[in-house]
Structures are given as C-alpha cells and as structure tokens.
C-alpha cells in the first residue's frame, strides 16, 4: 500500500474534521491505501477524493477561509466543487449533490489508516459502480475480493438509490466479477 499520503491530504482532512464534517477518503486512492490496487495506480488517478456527507459544505465560507489560512491554493470546479492544489495530486472535496451521492449504508464501512477514515474496499467498488464502469480495476486488483459482500452491499443500498441506478450498478458489478474471474483463471462468482 502507499507508504505516505501527500501531507496536504492529512492537512485538509484535519481541517474538515475540526469543523465537524467527518471526511472519508474514497475512490481509487482509498483502494490503493488498503493495498487493493498497486502503488503505481496513483499515476492513473487525477486527484484524491475526500467525501463529506453534507451538501451544505458548498455554502460554508469558513471551509475556504481555513484552507486559505494555511497557505494552500483553492479553486472551484465548474459546478462549484472544491479543489485544492497539492505537492503531488490535487484534492477534491466531494459532497452529495442532489441525487448523486454515496449512500449512507456504504459510508458505515470504513477502515482507519494513519488516523484517517478510508472507505472500505468493497464499499468503494459498490459506490463506484453507481457512477461508472469498474472493470478496469479488475485488471489490477491485488487482493481476493468477497463477491458475496459486493452483492450484499449493493442490495443494502437498494432503497437509497433509484431503480435505474441500481440496475446499472448491478450490471457493472457482474461485469467486474466476470473480468476478475477471467484474470485469476477461475470462476469467483459467489452470490
């Protein structure tokens, strides 16, 4: 797993934690930190995602003030997301926006690394499947996943997402497991 996260990530994490926001590291970096993906995969990620389960953060001017106070460079994406420049990778503070969010059920599964909340691997994959295709991770996965847990988590969030998103996510998880089975040379499908 990654020996060290950029110092700025810990700084931002502590700022948000201090303001009561409970940030969680999600996305590919969360998988890398847990040893699910190889370290070199960090070169394929564009930023480090810090998820905050509070849409009101976007209107909290104190967040920007605290970040600027520490001499960090802050910007906004075209839809108002918060981007912070860093020595290695930019950090994006991701938050729920209307019906695009990480379901609460998934957010309960966290691990702690270096005193920071990281979304647990299976939850990361399910969260990603709700947004985009995840087969590319099957090619480089370095651990044996519990496919039963993937489906359990997906079913657990059924009531938190709309039918269309659930159906598409299930299809994406099926494809992910199929790719992973082909790569390891055996059928790992467990439902």
């Amino acid at each position: 797993m990654l020996k060290k996260l950029p110092a700025t990530v810990k700084q931002i994490y502590e700022i948000l934690e201090g303001m009561g926001y409970k940030p969680i590291i999600v996305g590919s970096v969360a998988l890398i930190l847990q040893g699910w993906l190889p370290n070199w995969f960090i070169d394929r990620t564009k930023d480090v995602d810090l998820y905050v389960d509070d849409p009101a953060i976007i209107y909290d001017e104190d967040v920007e003030k605290e970040i600027l106070k520490r001499g960090l460079v802050i910007g906004r994406s075209e839809i108002g997301g918060i981007y912070i420049d860093s020595d290695t990778k930019p950090i994006e503070i991701v938050y729920p926006i209307y019906d695009f969010y990480i379901p609460k059920t998934l957010l309960w599964n966290v691990v702690y690394i270096d005193n920071m909340r990281i979304l647990e691997g299976h939850s990361v994959l399910v969260a990603m499947s709700l947004g985009h295709d995840i087969t590319k991770y099957a090619e480089v996965l370095e651990v044996e996943i519990d496919t039963r847990k993937l489906y359990q988590l997906l079913n657990a969030v059924r009531n938190e997402v709309d039918v269309e998103s659930f159906t598409i996510a299930k299809k994406r998880i099926d494809e992910f497991i199929e790719h992973y089975s082909r790569r390891v040379g055996r059928h790992v499908f467990v439902r």
Partner: protein, 200 residues
C-alpha cells in the same frame, strides 16, 4: 403557497411558472407536498419542486434554473429528502403541462449544471482599470461618462447618471471599478475600445 417564475433565475424560462400547493392555468406544473410527510421550508419546497419537474421532463434548462435557485438562495436538500420525494412524485406532481423527453438523467443533470454555471459566472464581479487619456478635457469627459456628473447639495457631493450606475458597478479607486462580468461588454461598447484601454 407559491407561484415561482423560473424566468427570474434563467431568462430563457421567462413565463414558465411552477405552482406549489396551489394551481392556476399559467403554470407548467402544479405540485402539492402535503403527502411528503417531511417538514420543509418554503425555499426547500421550491427547490424540490423544480428538481422533480426537471427530472420528470429531462430538460437541462430546468436543471440549470434549479441550480441557480439553490446558489442564489443558498438552499440545499439532502439526498434522503430527494429520494422520499421521488418515490412519491406521482402524488406530489398534480399537473404537468410540458413535454417530457427520454434522455438519461445523468446527461441532462450535468449539462444543466454546466449551463447554470455559465450564467452564475457572468454575475461575478470583475475589476476594471481604465487608462484615462492624458488630455485634461478628454479625461474629465470620460470620467463624467463613467461616473456621472458631480453635484454638490448642502456640502454633500453626489454622482448623477453615469454608466457605472446603469450597469450596477462601483468605483473602488480612481479609474478602478468593480462591475458584473456580464456588463463588461456594455462598458467596452460605450467607451469605444479603440479610444480607451480597459484592463482586467
């Protein structure tokens, strides 16, 4: 409770009205939140109403109006509230008088948000530094054109007229003004860019 004219948030939707807890013939949609069972503020109801209509009709302009409303009123709704409202949308939306399109919601949503951000960006202030001409008379002519005529009444000085007032700008220092980005073009046109320089 409310009739919201979406044209106040997005000019292309002028005349498109959403009625909440009441209904009249002018509305594109009539919604009633009594079945939702969640206490919402008036602003949250409006935001949720525009969201439900936008999602039902898959129109990116409505998504844009929704986001502009959210930013201007600093109101947000939690995903759980949206989910509850969506599950009861057939009960909440009493009437819908515009066509619905069959476009993936994700496409419509992000397009609408980017569209909204273009408009919000135009409202942002820009600092304009005007380089005045060296000639004293031309300089005073330009100053009056931008800032208006200076008149003194009972020892107090006022600026009357002027382009700055018309475009909603402010003077922050001699020849330095704060104006909405969308008014920059008006300023450039009125001052005739060939004759004077404007620096941003």
């Amino acid at each position: 409770m409310a009739v919201v004219n979406l044209g106040s948030y997005l000019s292309v939707l002028e005349g498109w009205k959403v009625c909440i807890d009441e209904c009249n013939e002018e509305c594109i949609a009539c919604l009633d939140f009594s079945s939702l069972g969640t206490l919402l503020t008036d602003e949250e109801k409006v935001l949720l109403a525009i969201y439900l209509v936008a999602k039902k009709t898959r129109r990116y302009q409505l998504v844009a109006a929704m986001h502009i409303y959210s930013v201007k009123h600093k109101v947000i709704v939690r995903p759980e509230t949206i989910r509850s409202a969506e599950l009861k949308s057939d009960d909440i939306i009493k009437e819908l008088r515009i066509t619905c399109y069959d476009i993936p919601w994700e496409t419509v949503f992000w397009r609408g948000l980017c569209y909204a951000q273009t408009f919000l960006d135009l409202e942002k202030p820009v600092i304009v530094k005007v380089t005045p001409p060296k000639d004293k008379r031309e300089r005073e002519k330009l100053r009056v054109l931008i800032e208006g005529k200076r008149i003194t009444i009972k020892g107090k000085t006022y600026n009357v007229g002027g382009l700055l007032k018309k475009i909603g700008g402010r003077k922050i220092a001699p020849w330095v003004y704060l104006i909405p980005k969308k008014s920059l073009q008006i300023l450039q046109r009125e001052l005739n860019l060939k004759t004077y320089d404007i620096l941003m």
